[in-house]
């Protein structure tokens, strides 16, 4: 047995094992980095309104459709308002509306999905048929119809998209809950007399919250694009309010004269969506490497 100690192989085992662990560590660091960047952006977007160089709502007839300059970094729009300041001012609305919508649909969808998946039965059938119907109307089309009818306001935009967005979370949560419900330890819990509520809270939810959160982070970008699309069509916030999608919408008619007023807010959307997508993807990669 002493021989085993001398065996140089014993020390060799380490680097073999750590190869996948090292990859996992790298992904973890990457995800943390993105999480920090995303939270910085969130914090910044919340306070951005205090960093505007000019009043985002002040019109200036003398400086209409001016190109980018030291005073107006991204130029001015049709009414002489500073595009840069309006982008900063709009960050809170655009980003927070997205995050709010994702959180609410995540919450509603997960609760409905878990209950349907755990209990099954008639209610489950009805809810699932209902989501079938909602999903068979193209999402943006339904949202346009709803937002158009409710009238332009941020709240109505969120409602219009929220009507369908919870369904994907509900379906995912339902399929996980159905799988978990059949695991042996859930049966064991039932036999020891745990209540359904207790089982759901302590066993079902913790086992599905991971993949659900991964899915939610991946959805942030898409949700932002949907909101921007509706705002662009003039179904978002009411005109004077600064919001990226509606800024593009307003400036579109004079694209030829002041392209900056169109492209600056559009690029702000693009960059933010890319950022969220990077974050979502790294979270997803991390989750996958944890599974492997």
């Amino acid at each position: 047995m002493e021989m085993v100690k001398q065996n140089p192989a014993a020390t060799k085992i380490k680097p073999m094992l750590t190869r996948s662990q090292r990859k996992h560590q790298r992904l973890k660091r990457k995800t943390i980095l993105w999480a920090i960047i995303v939270s910085l952006i969130l914090v910044f977007s919340f306070f951005a309104t205090y960093f505007t160089p000019n009043d985002p709502y002040e019109t200036n007839p003398l400086a209409m459709r001016q190109g980018p300059s030291a005073e107006y970094p991204f130029g001015t729009d049709n009414l002489g308002r500073c595009v840069y300041s309006r982008i900063l001012e709009g960050a809170r609305t655009s980003i927070f509306a997205t995050i709010m919508l994702v959180i609410i649909s995540f919450f509603v969808g997960t609760v409905i999905g878990v209950l349907c998946g755990y209990y099954g039965g008639v209610v489950d059938d009805i809810v699932m048929r209902f989501t079938d119907i909602l999903l068979s109307v193209p999402q943006l089309v339904l949202a346009i119809a709803v937002a158009g009818i409710l009238g332009g306001s941020l709240m109505n935009t969120l409602i219009a998209i929220g009507i369908t967005s919870w369904t994907s979370y509900a379906r995912l949560a339902r399929s996980h809950a159905m799988r978990i419900r059949q695991l042996p330890f859930i049966n064991a819990c039932r036999l020891t007399g745990c209540s359904d509520f207790h089982i759901i809270i302590t066993h079902v939810v913790p086992n599905l919250i991971g993949p659900m959160l991964v899915n939610a982070t991946l959805e942030i970008g898409t949700t932002m694009l949907s909101i921007a699309g509706l705002s662009f069509l003039g179904l978002g916030v009411a005109p004077p309010t600064a919001e990226w999608g509606s800024m593009v919408s307003e400036a579109r008619s004079y694209l030829q004269l002041a392209p900056w007023a169109v492209f600056a807010p559009a690029l702000a959307i693009l960059l933010t969506v890319m950022l969220f997508n990077y974050f979502g993807e790294s979270v997803c990669d991390l989750a996958n490497s944890q599974e492997a």
Partner: protein
């Protein structure tokens, strides 16, 4: 030695920057069945990968060479390699789903294989071949897709395709180890029959010494990247020389319901890099010289080689 079909000389194979096999040498005559046995991880599958030489497999030959029918095939170009694969070297993998695309019919896959070597695919030839191998439902087989078939049948379809392609050397990588006993017997008998009829040489990798004793002419035993014993099957099985082979034979589960004798410890991961005997840490007979004497496979009895530094130890 010109009449050897396959000669492997001093082969060293790495996987990434990890040495898997060192200094393995042996040769095969036409019509010979050679079994290579050993624990998982000893490098026996890597040996097959090295002979196949498909670059996707990642096995990289750093030293030594492989000679097939007088031609050095160690470093062929991708296209040269493709031309000898199938036509000169056949392969049956361990995974019964590993030969065919699961969701396309055998018919198209047989066709694609033959056409890749500019040969015509004649359906009746294939059906004749199935009949010769006693496949059930031979006329309908081609229209099936692999997922509709059992694992054993898939392996047999792969063998049948090899019959059509006509290689001289077959490589079988644990081709029967995931099959149930009946299909295992079918496949093995098929291979033995084809050796008799077509003169195939078969390099058969297995951890099942029972299977080996059934069909093999020669048996090689590998341990941690090295060939520790090689010789005629009877000679090796009845009169093993290397302590590892002895323990391996003792580990075969018997019919007497006794648990087989195990072996303490694990094979070293870097066994291929050790200069001396790499079985030393687990060997009950080892002496000081065992760790220092460089590895060599010596002929102890005529036709029977072993790498034990002490030659033959008496029990």
């Amino acid at each position: 030695m010109a009449n050897n079909l396959l000669e492997i000389n001093n082969l060293t194979v790495t996987y990434g920057d990890f040495k898997i096999i060192t200094e393995v040498s042996f040769s095969m005559k036409p019509g010979e069945i050679v079994c290579i046995a050993g624990e998982s991880g000893c490098g026996k599958s890597t040996l097959i990968k090295a002979v196949l030489g498909i670059k996707h497999l990642g096995a990289f030959i750093t030293e030594g060479n492989i000679i097939l029918d007088g031609r050095d095939i160690t470093h062929l170009s991708t296209e040269e390699r493709r031309q000898i694969l199938g036509t000169q070297i056949g392969y049956v993998p361990q995974n019964t789903r590993g030969s065919f695309n699961n969701i396309r019919t055998y018919d198209v896959q047989y066709q694609e294989t033959m056409r890749s070597h500019n040969r015509k695919f004649v359906r009746s030839d294939a059906i004749d071949c199935f009949d010769r191998l006693n496949f059930p439902e031979s006329s309908k087989l081609l229209s099936y897709q692999p997922w509709e078939m059992s694992g054993g049948m898939n392996q047999r379809m792969a063998i049948a395709l090899a019959v059509l392609q006509g290689p001289k050397l077959m490589l079988c990588d644990e081709a029967t180890s995931v099959l149930d006993v009946t299909s295992q017997k079918e496949v093995i008998e098929e291979l033995a029959k084809l050796r008799d009829e077509l003169g195939w040489s078969i390099l058969f990798i297995t951890h099942n010494l029972g299977v080996a004793s059934h069909i093999a002419d020669k048996l090689g035993v590998m341990y941690a990247g090295r060939m520790v014993e090689y010789g005629n099957i009877r000679s090796v099985l009845d009169d093993p020389i290397h302590p590892y082979t002895r323990r391996l034979l003792a580990a075969i589960p018997g019919k007497d319901r006794k648990l087989p004798l195990g072996l303490e410890g694990r094979p070293p991961l870097d066994g291929a890099e050790v200069e001396g005997c790499n079985f030393v840490p687990r060997c009950q007979f080892c002496e000081d010289k065992c760790s220092t004497k460089p590895y060599s496979l010596d002929e102890i009895v005529p036709g029977h080689f072993a790498s034990c530094a002490q030659g033959r130890v008496d029990l």
